[in-house]
Each structure stands twice: as structure tokens, then as C-alpha cells.
Symmetry: C2
Subunit: 337 residues, 2 copies
């Protein structure tokens, strides 16, 4: 049904439309891409493509525009990821290398990606689940309060102020800290709950109330942070592009962690490290936007996802190239630290 030339026409339509933002007509097509056939022939092919639902015309007697289905075919079969230039790669590398801590890595990554793609970038914080406890710190604030600080091997720090059920002096706090660290250091976060379950029983009876309180907060911290924080950057890039779904909706989604979570999450499939593209109506919310995402993290265990959100009419090859490259570099940086 769709011979090679028809596919070539579809590819040409997508490319032209992406770059000009105007419906593309048969004549212009035949000229600009040397298809070696006449406009009339192109018209026939276009009619076929429209029949199949790959393209559509906004109104009679205007050029054609790709449909979501058309973009899908383009992404899957007609395009290949465009690698970044050497200069861009160097820029990424040096920019990310300057990061001082995990927060900084994430912030830099998201900005970088936004700038590179000229769209909205979204980065999910590395999940705790796969990471391990590096250190647990208890800092006495006064006799009834301590601050719990949990440090993971990914460089992440979680903190909570805890009200104790009774006064506890510093030496006992120090003791608790030693016990906690002895049993938790180096453990995967997902193992913490079971390791901690019978711990109060193994302690002197006078330490149990305090320990129980602290441990319950510790567990709470793990659970809460299980669904993770997401940051974005490049909202200014939305100003230019005109979204079919209102600009307002997009901005709202960006500020709503839960929605963003879903959007990124839904892009996961069997191989998390692969590039995923969701086009327009394939997205649960935000029908008018496309998302290009991928997992990142050190090789085997994927820590989280990052990606780009933009109008359906985006330059997929370039965007995919940028996302993939950035994901690789971040993974590298994180693995090194």
C-alpha cells in the first residue's frame, strides 16, 4: 500500500512542516526535495497518505499537515536520531563536570537540555530505591529534638526534625547513631524496612521509645520520597510555540508533580534505557504535546528518567539526539561519583 516513494513524500512533508510551520503543498514538495516526479504525482501520493490517515489538510485547498499517526511512522521508520556536533558534546561535558553535588547535577542537566533543544526539559531526581545508605546522622538540637540526616551513595541528603517522646541525652543519641550506622551502612534502601523491624527489641529498654520514633520517621522518609521529585526548565521556550492545547494547561502540568510523573512514567517500557517518544494524543493528558524521554543511570540499573516536552510539531531527530546524549553524560557523571 505504501511504496517507497509515498514514504519519501511523508518524510518530506514532516521535515518541511517542522521547519516552516506551514501546511506543505504538492508543488513546493516536488521542487525542494528532488523527488523527480511532477506535482501531480505527488498529489496522488498525498491523497493515498491522507486516505491512510498519515496526513490531513486543515481546510480544503491548503497544503497537508502530518497527523499524530504520521509523526509516529516518521519517528519509527523514516528518521534516525541525529547525533550532536562535537562542539555540543564538549559543551555538555564541561558544563556537567562542573557540578558540585547531586542537586547541582540535576539543575544543570535540566537547564542544559532545555537550552540544547529549545524546549521544556524535565528531569526526575534519581530514585532512592536502588541506592544505598551511606550514613545516618543524628544531630541533637535540644533534649527533646533531634535532626535526622540520611545520606545516600548517590549523594542525596534527606533531613527531618524529630520530636522525641522523652528527653534523651547526647551520649544516648550517639549510641543510637552508632547502632543505626552499624546495621544500615551500605544497605539498599529497599532493605531498610526489614532490617529495622526488630531493631528496638535489640536495644536497651530505655532507648526503645526514642529509637522507635526515629525509625518510624526514617521509614516515612523513604516512603515519601519514593515517588520522586521532578524539576523542569525552559518554560520560556513555550512562549514562541503555539500549542493546540492551551499554554495554560502545559504550564499547569509542569508545576503539578503528579501529572509530570505520569507523563514521564508512561514512557517507560521494557528497556528503560531506550529512547521513548510519545506523540500528541498518545499522551494521557496534554494531547497537543509530544514527549521524548529516556532513562538514565549507571548502565544496568536505571535511576530515573529525563526528557523533553514540546509541541507535536518538533524536530524529532534532533531532539532525540540531544536527549540521548544528555542522558549518557549524566549517567557517566553519576557513575563516577
Amino acid at each position: 500500500m505504501l511504496d517507497d516513494r509515498k514514504l519519501a513524500v511523508l518524510r518530506a512533508i514532516v521535515e518541511d512542516y517542522v521547519s516552516t510551520n506551514e501546511p506543505v503543498g504538492s508543488k513546493a514538495l516536488a521542487e525542494r526535495h528532488n523527488l523527480k516526479v511532477s506535482p501531480a504525482t505527488v498529489r496522488n501520493d498525498m491523497a493515498a497518505l491522507e486516505e491512510e490517515g498519515y496526513i490531513t489538510q486543515p481546510h480544503t485547498s491548503a497544503g497537508r499537515v502530518p497527523t499524530d499517526k504520521g509523526y509516529r511512522l516518521f519517528v519509527d521508520r523514516l528518521s534516525q536520531v541525529k547525533p550532536l556536533s562535537a562542539a555540543e558534546r564538549r559543551a555538555i561535558e564541561t558544563f556537567l563536570a562542573g557540578a558540585v553535588d547531586l542537586d547541582d547535577v540535576v539543575t544543570r542537566t535540566v537547564r542544559l537540555l532545555a537550552q540544547l533543544t529549545r524546549q521544556v526539559a524535565v528531569v526526575q531526581y534519581p530514585t532512592l530505591t536502588r541506592s544505598t545508605v551511606r550514613h545516618v546522622e543524628l544531630v541533637p538540637l535540644n533534649e527533646r529534638r533531634v535532626m535526622l540526616v540520611l545520606i545516600t551513595n548517590t549523594g542525596r541528603v534527606e533531613q527531618r526534625v524529630i520530636e522525641l517522646p522523652e528527653a534523651v541525652d547526647d551520649t544516648r543519641i550517639a549510641h543510637l547513631r552508632a547502632v543505626f550506622n552499624a546495621s544500615l551502612d551500605g544497605c539498599g534502601l529497599s532493605n531498610v524496612p526489614e532490617l529495622v523491624a526488630d531493631m528496638p527489641e535489640r536495644l536497651p529498654v530505655e532507648d526503645r521509645p526514642a529509637a522507635a520514633t526515629i525509625l518510624s520517621v526514617l521509614l516515612e522518609t523513604l516512603v515519601e520520597r519514593h515517588d520522586e521529585k521532578i524539576v523542569f526548565a525552559g518554560a520560556a521556550n513555550l512562549a514562541g510555540a503555539d500549542f493546540t492545547t492551551g499554554l495554560r494547561d502545559v504550564l499547569e502540568a509542569l508545576e503539578e508533580q503528579v501529572v509530570l510523573m505520569r507523563l514521564l512514567g508512561e514512557t517507560t517500557n521494557d528497556t528503560p534505557s531506550a529512547l521513548t517518544v510519545r506523540i500528541g494524543s498518545e499522551n494521557p493528558y496534554l494531547r497537543g504535546t509530544s514527549i521524548v524521554a529516556t532513562g538514565y543511570g549507571s548502565g544496568d540499573n536505571q535511576l530515573a528518567r529525563l526528557g523533553v516536552l514540546g509541541p507535536t510539531r518538533m524536530d524529532y531527530p534532533v531532539t532525540m539526539g540531544a536527549v540521548r546524549a544528555v542522558a549518557r553524560y549524566v549517567s557517566q557523571i553519576l557513575a563516577a561519583s
Copy 2:
């Protein structure tokens, strides 16, 4: 020059224009606000007000619109801050009370303010300068690396991974930690540099290289964080309002810490706890927007600033009320912890 009735007319114009977003004419004015004079009289007053530069007409034979100068007079002399309703106050209180740590307080505050005012809210993180060291923690990661964690009395945690110039074993790290804490605990952050200056000399010679490295990172941390982080929320509220200065500019400014810093910073005056309003062209960048800001923090020492950014045409009394109320509650929460 400006008698009471002219001021009343100006006030009426501002109020009407803010609520309708349309230039307001003499007839509508005379009717809606019972001024007890005829439209013709109002017209005379309007002519006078225009002469003085408080209002202007977009084109001949359209109604009048307040100028920046007009809003200024309105804010300074013709309006009074509108207190929140009891329900709103309760909502603020319960929402903020649920915060678990400093990050959470800031995040909740900024969202709350955005929702309350239906505009873009901006909150600066409490500055470290006035806060004191609660604890310094050194966590050995491996023999050549330690993680420095600085905990302040405001609940803020700063962290850095440090590469040591030479291998240092855990007991010496523990010793350094003890020394640091002994000399820094409870000190104001601004005093840290001098306290730390001669510290290496007081240490055993073999600890000096490591100590010097760590301390230099510590100082760096203080300096870097001196100009503070700013977060925003409610960007979606920009979608409705039409800004004279492009939407893009505003979004860019929001993501650019430095610019945001300036905008908030420039609003400071002698009494930081007072509400400050900068209207339109009074702003260094972003001429088309107004900013309502105030300091927050426990009474005497102001920790940082927060505020709202919106179109010049905003409801100042309501916005000011919300900003003031939120600032008060946050200060309260922070003082309590």
C-alpha cells in the same frame, strides 16, 4: 490641584479598570460609583488627571486607563491593604503547619501564595548570613573523599563531596569533625571565616592539608549560598493575563535566578518587613510587570523576601493583603522551629 473628588475619580478608574480590563469612560464611572455628579463633570476631572499624567487614553475616544504614576498614587494614598477572610487565614495556617522541613516550608509557601493571588509567587530561601551553625558533619566516603554536611539552625542542610589531597583514615576524620564542631557550633555563619582562618595552624601538622582543603570548601559553600536560591510557582497564571512585555521575557526572568534576585532585592528599603510595591516601569527589568514584596523572618532579623509578580493591572489591595498575611505566617512557622 487634585481635590478630593478628582482622587475619588482616579480611585474609581483604577478599580474599574482592574476588574474589567477595559478603558473606563465617564458615563460608566458616574453611574457605577455613585459620585453624584454628571458624566460631564467627571470628564473635566479626567482631563485634569490626564494633564497631570495619572491616566491616559489608548486612543482618542476610548476610555481612560491608569498610568504607572496613577497606580502609584492609588497604592500610596487611595487604597488600603485588604485583609484576608477568616477562611483564607485558616487555610494558610493549616497548609503551612503541615510542612516537614525547610524545603517543604518554602515550597508550600510559594504554592500557597500563587494560588491565593492567582499570580506568580516568588520566594527567596532564608539567607544563611543571619543563621548559625548547628552541626558540621564529615562522612568518609572512601579514603580520599569525604562528604561535608553543614546543618544550620534554620534547618538548612548544605552538602559537598570533597576530594582530599591525601588519604586520611576515619579516626582522623572523626578528630577533625570534633575540632570543627567544637569551634563552630552555634556561631553565626558570617563569623565562620574569621574563626576558621588560623585553625589549620592549631592542628597537628599531619592533619593540616586535609583540614585546609575541607575548610576552603566550607568557606566556598558559605559564599556561594550567600546570594540565595529563589523559587517560583504559578507560572500558569501568566497564561491568562496579557503582558505588555512579552510573556517570554517574564518566563525567562523567572528561570534566571540573577534577574529574580535583582527584582526582589530592589524592593528592599529601610524597613524590610514593610510591604513594598514596584509598579511597571519602576522595575529595572520587566517594565510591564508589578511586584509586591515583603521581608519575612522572625521579627527583628529578616531572613529573606517573598512576593508576587503580576501585570501592572492587578488588584493591589488584595494582593498586598495576601503577601502580608503569608509572610506573617511563614515567619511564625520559622520562628517556632
